[in-house]
Subunit: 417 residues, 2 copies
Amino acid sequence: MRYSKIFSKSTKSTSADNESINAKLLTQAGFVDQEMAGVYTWLPLGLAVLRNIEQIVREEMDALGASEIFMPSLQPKEYWDTTNRWEGVDVLFKLKSQTGKDYALGCTHEEVVTPLVKKFVQSYKDLPLATYQINTKFRDELRAKSGVLRGREFRMKDMYSFHTNQEDLSAFYQKTLKAYVRAYNRCGLQVKVVQASGGVFTQNLSHEFQAITDAGEDVLIACNSCEFGENSEIATHNEGDACPTCNAVLVKTKGIEVGNIFDLGTKYSDAFELEFTNEEGKRQRVLMGCYGIGTSRLVGSIVEASHDEKGMIWPKSIAPALVHLVRIGEDAESVEAADGLYNELRAAGIRVFYDDRDTTAGAKFGDADLMGLPLRLTVSKRMLAESVVEWKERTATEATKVPRTDVLASVKTFAQA
Amino acid sequence: MRYSKIFSKSTKSTSADNESINAKLLTQAGFVDQEMAGVYTWLPLGLAVLRNIEQIVREEMDALGASEIFMPSLQPKEYWDTTNRWEGVDVLFKLKSQTGKDYALGCTHEEVVTPLVKKFVQSYKDLPLATYQINTKFRDELRAKSGVLRGREFRMKDMYSFHTNQEDLSAFYQKTLKAYVRAYNRCGLQVKVVQASGGVFTQNLSHEFQAITDAGEDVLIACNSCEFGENSEIATHNEGDACPTCNAVLVKTKGIEVGNIFDLGTKYSDAFELEFTNEEGKRQRVLMGCYGIGTSRLVGSIVEASHDEKGMIWPKSIAPALVHLVRIGEDAESVEAADGLYNELRAAGIRVFYDDRDTTAGAKFGDADLMGLPLRLTVSKRMLAESVVEWKERTATEATKVPRTDVLASVKTFAQA
């Protein structure tokens, strides 16, 4: 990707929502643009991050054996009446068609997936099953805040599982819990797994996944070694206690919720009469679980957890590109050398963002720090004279020089590291 | 993909919207499920087709140099007031937040993209530029009909281009017109390019792309050789005339609109005062074009254009998989042989849908015809005895036998053909 070819440039103007670090940095770097409070456009670089995260989540859900589908945002009022949630969910956007029909705008999809699955499930042989989607969600928040952390329109992966018995549901729930931790870790994020109450969803078992950051809204008592955590409001342990899981020490910390999973029991299968015929030929209610990850919220959480005073710091796995190639100078020799390196890296399958603009070295380096790609490579007349390229990792304090002939091999090693 | 692992099975029940062939076949084959009139869930196999089409469209837009972004569905009323379309577009869904704000639900995105681009364009040096998204759209249709052809919620690629002068806009418009024809052809669809009036969008130049099928809503006078076509209502030629482009004969035919492109002139840049500083230092209005392809409508159009009495016939490029592998028999030998072929094909990068269910050969062959994947391969005890696999292309009338050892090579040749 060439910087000169995308219209969305970095800008020093901060967004209106400037109390939040993620909104400020993502906006300044040209990753997102705020349309209105709580509603953002994903610009090319931000969309690349979002897509990378969604692909990691997709792979982990596929590995659980879940099938990907794509459900509607427009949902008939009758379904929400069936679960008594038309009035009960205060963040539900409602609209009316010109033919007089009432619709909800999906903030969650139990009301769609339960009657859908009912069409395909007759007997115990059709179970268990799990299905998920990655889609846009809508919430009529009283106060949208914190940039892409709490929006009125956002991206989410939601999975639903269906089981004949509690043992099977619990086993899948635990497998999913582990898949979630893997997905966050692959996105470069350390999380704590916190047992939680189910809110409007359920009275049954539920867990939250909390990303540790000072910008967190929730206070946790969490292990400083493993994933154990408790919400401080309902904690059964104190700071300084031994972790009940691994015996390390518990500390007080702040977290952002980046996902949650729920044992729904028969709440929705009762409402929609979702039943199966068991091995004795009797009809029984299906047990359900639901599992959510806010993928756009995850982008913001990673910015909150991974930045410094100069800008964002993207983990390699989800960065818009691995290499931020900076060309200093507009002379034919520098252009040819930088174009050559750009083409060489791309031909080797390396994702490269190429700052080929005619602007100052200072502006380019400032943008590179702000945008936070893992590795900055600089081509200039001075470097060419020495037959080297400047090598600067985003997390390193110093730049080094790498012989031009070694660059591809070194980048490949860096990509794997 | 194993049939036993996806919950969405084929079903002989037709959808409520059973007058349309695409709704009937897509629903029977388990590709989509109708949630309510004009609103569908995309099930695993249907989603695979939709994704394949959207990827082809994405590649063609990228090749034009356009940057992909992702814009919000929630749009502030003020933007639609600015263009005088809040009252003017009768299919606009409207909703109100609990804080009292009025939103439109995006049926098109000129009202978002124009103020967005305005933030990044100052001078002629920032132009031309083009940006696109692939997103869900909403239209408050009085009558949703024809399955996925005209829905209240649907998928669309919309691109917008921005130029300093008419010559540059016209050149990009013509390049895009050719890219559209390429995209449809890559999806296995022949189209006619029909000059059209611009509807609510514009009084300027506009073209429609019409897929030729008996189910078409529009009557065309079209060339039987090249892409030339005219809407019969405003045609300047008659059936039997020579084509003005290639001199072949013009015939009367029916078409479904699968895309359109518009020269918007300064309509939206006037409304939003989107200006640039020209080379003489003077401020000028930006010229715009917009370019749409309904990707979910394209799925339905291809079904209408490509099916027979037994079911759908998918072009290789967009089929959910290239091979429909049928296993007949539950004995260990057949299972091992079919599993082996499944793994061998997948290891070679071939997309395979594997019917590993315990059901009759008749049911499996019926489903294979209905689902319409390009190549059916059958493994059975009888075939194993002859060391062959049954080979049946969806468009062929007869099945043949291929030596088991030649299958992979033959499939690779078929994939390339």
